[in-house]
């Protein structure tokens, strides 16, 4: 199976580079997947970062300072792409897929890497942006790096690092036990008709509430090696993504 691993900027270059060739003959339909971000329906861009303007389900005021997450195996007619969405840098939020026939397709992707793909050190584009996971935690890659600040119980601004990785039980450091905490997101059927833009909505508030109401005063930093926290994050992540508008 053909696999691609690149950041959006590389994707754009790649598509631009073959544009002339395609223009000479016929423009095949293309699909543009666009990730948009919101907090319970209120749109978010990187312009909303660094301000304590959000309140999570547990009532804690918080800010977003860094938000990068990994999408793999975007599946539309069997193509398999990996994408690093960096909301702060406004990169990777869109991906184009060309050579698609009109029709109705199932759209799905994986949040993070499955164990099969989560191979330590093998993805140059992720190494280059320091998205890897220490070997002492089993290696591989972050699924998400979400950093910000919140007002803690002492009314003090405090940092949090909501980082998701493959869950690792380090009870016995000599015998690490893993649980795959990546998950598939199935957005259902979409109709592709000529050039189509598909919005994928990302509700960041969901990371803190469903099904686990997240208490930042208890779970704020050093979460990468926290086996139970990683499983809770996985559960909460499943309601983060939803299908938005589909425009032809």
């Amino acid at each position: 199976m053909k696999k691609y691993s690149f950041l959006l900027i590389v994707i754009l270059l790649a598509f631009n580079s073959c544009k002339e060739e395609l223009d000479c003959c016929v423009n095949p339909p293309s699909v543009n997947l666009k990730f948009t971000h919101n907090w319970d329906g209120v749109p978010i861009t990187n312009q909303d970062f660094n301000e304590l303007k959000f309140t999570n389900e547990n009532g804690e005021k918080l800010s977003i300072e860094r938000l990068r997450y990994l999408i793999s195996n975007i599946n539309l007619i069997g193509s398999k792409n990996n994408l690093l969405v960096d909301v702060g840098e406004n990169s990777g939020t869109e991906i184009s897929i060309s050579d698609i026939e009109n029709g109705t397709y199932d759209l799905s992707f994986r949040f993070g890497f499955s164990d099969e793909d989560n191979k330590d050190g093998t993805y140059q584009f992720l190494n280059s942006v320091s998205f890897d996971v220490p070997a002492m935690l089993g290696g591989g890659y972050h699924f998400m790096q979400f950093d910000g600040k919140y007002i803690d119980n002492n009314n003090q601004e405090t940092g949090f690092n909501y980082h998701t990785i493959r869950a690792v039980d380090r009870t016995n450091p000599a015998d690490l036990k893993f649980e795959d905490t990546s998950f598939e997101v199935n957005l259902g059927k979409v109709e592709i008709k000529n050039n189509t833009e598909i919005e994928i909505k990302v509700n960041i508030a969901e990371w803190f509430k469903n099904p686990n109401i997240w208490n930042l005063n208890e779970l704020n930093t050093n979460l990468m090696g926290n086996f139970e926290a990683q499983k809770m994050m996985r559960a909460n992540g499943k309601s983060v993504f939803s299908l938005g508008k589909v425009r032809q």
Partner: protein
């Protein structure tokens, strides 16, 4: 008759063009040797399409880098503050310019610059591209305090430079753009990838127990947690080349990135420097405030200062930091020093 004359003139014109073309020297492409670790782990280095590396361009850039005629009184070159023996920085907190004036930032070491993927250079990221960065020191009144018109006149009047520019860039008419292009070419060849730790990763060296433990402290989110900003065995640049407020000050006298972007949320943020070659690059931080590695480690362990823009990756601020033990600090230092590359600072290709 008139038609014949036109043909004759056209023929002579074409012959003239042909002979000139023959005179144009084609520079030899420079073979940039990518270290194995970089080739395995990282995306390709950034080489601008409008300034490809050539043997002639790199050699010219090296000559210019060490040439004191780029300064107002012919007393300083780029290498004065970027000494190859010091991994292309100097040993002072602030460098003095030709008039004895001092800046407010520590001279940055120079290596692996082609792998700065966002291409934002200097402590505050104000220069987008190496070529643009090279423009600044020549005319800076507290650095080389010259101006480009004078520098170009000096170079143009030199007996060797016009021919070197002709060979490197196809013209003997020198200008500041070509000077900075040549310097940037040389700087892109400054590759450091042969430290003890590099050799360890390649299976050619063994770490001491202290170095190995120090690496573990570096990579442990609950201890040093250095890797989120300073690379890892999978990112052998040992920097993310991003900008962070690492808790040096509660209030800022130098806004850093904030002065460049105008965004108060960027105040107090500076580029993460690479941790390679720390053996040669003291003093440390953007303002050279720490004379030793011990002071640097103590800062992260118990010296953090709270401010509105401090990076969320800085933990336990109320305790001053991550509170490493004496042994953890010593081991961390041992690991950090294993990233020093003796071959790089002694490489004759990089020295005058």
């Amino acid at each position: 008759m008139k038609t014949k004359s036109i043909f004759l003139l056209s023929f002579l014109f074409l012959m003239n063009c042909a002979s000139k073309e023959e005179e144009i020297y084609t520079p030899v492409p420079y073979n940039l040797e990518i270290p194995t670790l970089f080739a395995d782990k990282l995306i390709a280095p950034i080489i601008p399409t409008n300034n490809p590396l050539t043997e002639e361009g790199v050699a010219l850039g090296k000559k210019l880098f060490f040439d004191k005629s780029l300064s107002g009184d012919n007393s300083q070159s780029c290498a004065t503050c970027h000494n190859p023996k010091k991994a292309f920085t100097d040993e002072t907190r602030f460098s003095d310019g030709i008039d004895g004036n001092f800046g407010t930032r520590n001279s940055m070491p120079l290596f692996n610059l082609a792998w700065n993927f966002n291409e934002k250079f200097t402590w505050d990221g104000k220069d987008f591209s190496l070529e643009k960065q090279a423009f600044e020191p020549v005319s800076n009144p507290i650095e080389m305090h010259s101006n480009w018109k004078k520098v170009v006149e000096k170079l143009q009047g030199n007996s060797t430079y016009p021919d070197l520019f002709l060979r490197a860039f196809g013209t003997s008419t020198i200008d500041s753009v070509l000077v900075t292009k040549a310097i940037a070419q040389f700087e892109r060849t400054l590759i450091s990838a042969n430290s003890k730790f590099d050799k360890f990763l390649l299976g050619k060296a063994t770490l001491t127990a202290e170095e190995q433990n120090g690496f573990n402290v570096f990579m442990d989110e609950a201890k040093g947690d250095c890797f989120h900003c300073h690379g890892s065995n999978n990112n052998p640049l040992w920097t993310d080349n991003q900008f962070h407020n690492n808790g040096l000050d509660a209030t800022f006298t130098d806004l850093g990135l904030g002065k460049v972007t105008g965004d108060p949320n960027d105040n107090g943020k500076f580029k993460s420097p690479s941790l390679r070659n720390l053996k040669f690059t003291a003093p440390f931080m953007h303002d050279g405030r720490f004379a030793t590695l011990e002071e640097v480690i103590n800062h992260y362990s118990e010296g953090l200062q709270r401010s509105s823009t401090i990076d969320p990756l800085m933990k336990k601020i109320n305790d001053g930091g991550v509170n490493l033990s004496t042994k953890e600090k010593a081991d961390l230092k041992a690991f950090l020093l294993s990233l020093s590359d003796e071959e790089f600072v002694n490489n004759s290709s990089f020295n005058k």
